[in-house]
Symmetry: C2
Subunit: 232 residues, 2 copies
């Protein structure tokens, strides 16, 4: 990636239909900052209401329980937006955001962001679609948390990962092998539970580790296992 | 309420800054329908992508577990919008919507709704604020489901209800007395668990029933009880 891309809004997905001239004006209005891996970009307690755009890197949206357990909401990369809720409604931050890799962000004040939304209906529509997508994922997660036990939530998450990495109708290869603590924080359980479930699935031959790849050998069976317990 | 109000978009909150003329054009484009109590307005399985506005009545957004247990997402009344996700992104419905009382709705096709959003930035902004609000509530619910047991989720819900009905700093009166099955479906537990928790709270003197009113006598203590267990 060239420096030009790193400090440009050209690759921000929600700006894809914004004319080059408008983008240039926005780029001048933006603040720019680069964060080291693990560095906090948004603190839930902070008063800032700026909106952030990732021009390079990867970050995690996350909250913590009182005991410090991580509940993660999303991992977002190049071209994504975050911090938009507070910029839209002026309310406090709803979550923390932490850099996963070295990450460069552009920031825009709520006022400047509102102006863009009013002037560019395509940006507003794209943002609404993103918000709708977040709500859909939240509804699924609330349903999973309300109706599935921890083991089944791990099966369901593994199935979600597998669906995007099919090698045929019933098999998938997930590279790199998912990290137990990442899955734990996405489905709200402990690392130990995830390790136990992966141990059981390996014993049953439903997953198989090949170097840095996790092979899911029977997605249909995994789906049945989720459904069996999607009882109450 | 007059017939004129029932078949007008004047009281729809997201249209409050829309000029009278534009509203009149929209009203002509709308379909209108009245539903009986308990009648289903949106079936999750349906192919429709219309957006709905409640001009009179009250409805519940709800999903069901495989065993038929109700997981409710929101109760919405006069002036509210629903069904907007499918209208925004064209994806399938995310939930069912059922009339709680006799309910009159106006419906708009996705195409007509997109035109309104493009032509009226105030409507787009109002919709974004609503979507942001839904996400914030979802984040709280995911945190509650991830970190609190069922008993504590009932305490937390009771506290949320009490906060809007304070009679002084530490007491609240909730009228009518909340229905156990409604609370159960909002916090994803069973009616029996809610009944048990209310029994315990009554014994401890933290809630007291007076006719059709539930008095919460010590909100600070209830808050402490939620916090005590917001451990893992």
């Amino acid at each position: 990636m060239t420096d030009q891309q790193e400090f440009s809004l050209r690759n921000i997905k929600m700006f894809k239909d914004v004319p080059e001239e408008t983008l240039a004006i926005m780029e001048e209005r933006c603040g720019w900052k680069t964060y080291a891996p693990h560095e906090q970009i948004i603190d839930r307690q902070s008063d800032s209401r700026d909106v952030y755009f990732i021009t390079r890197g990867r970050a995690r949206v996350v909250n913590y329980s009182a005991s410090g357990r991580e509940i993660s909401f999303d991992d977002i990369g190049d071209g994504a937006v975050f911090g938009e809720l507070a910029a839209i409604d002026g309310e406090p931050r709803s979550a923390n955001v932490v850099a996963l890799t070295q990450t460069t962000v552009a920031t825009l004040s709520p006022k400047a962001f509102h102006e863009v939304l009013e002037e560019c209906p395509s940006v507003a529509m794209s943002l609404m679609q993103r918000l709708a997508h977040i709500i859909r994922i939240s509804v699924d997660r609330i349903m999973d948390l309300s109706t599935l036990g921890a083991h089944n939530r791990v099966y369901a998450e593994l199935l979600r990962l597998a669906r995007d990495r099919r090698i045929d109708n019933n098999q998938a290869e997930i590279t790199p092998v998912p990290i137990h603590s990442d899955i734990a924080s996405r489905v709200s359980t402990t690392r130990e539970t995830v390790a136990r479930v992966f141990g059981e699935l390996t014993k049953k031959g439903l997953v198989e580790r090949k170097g840095n790849t996790l092979v899911v050998t029977d997605m249909d069976r995994l789906q049945e296992m989720v459904e069996e317990f999607r009882g109450d």
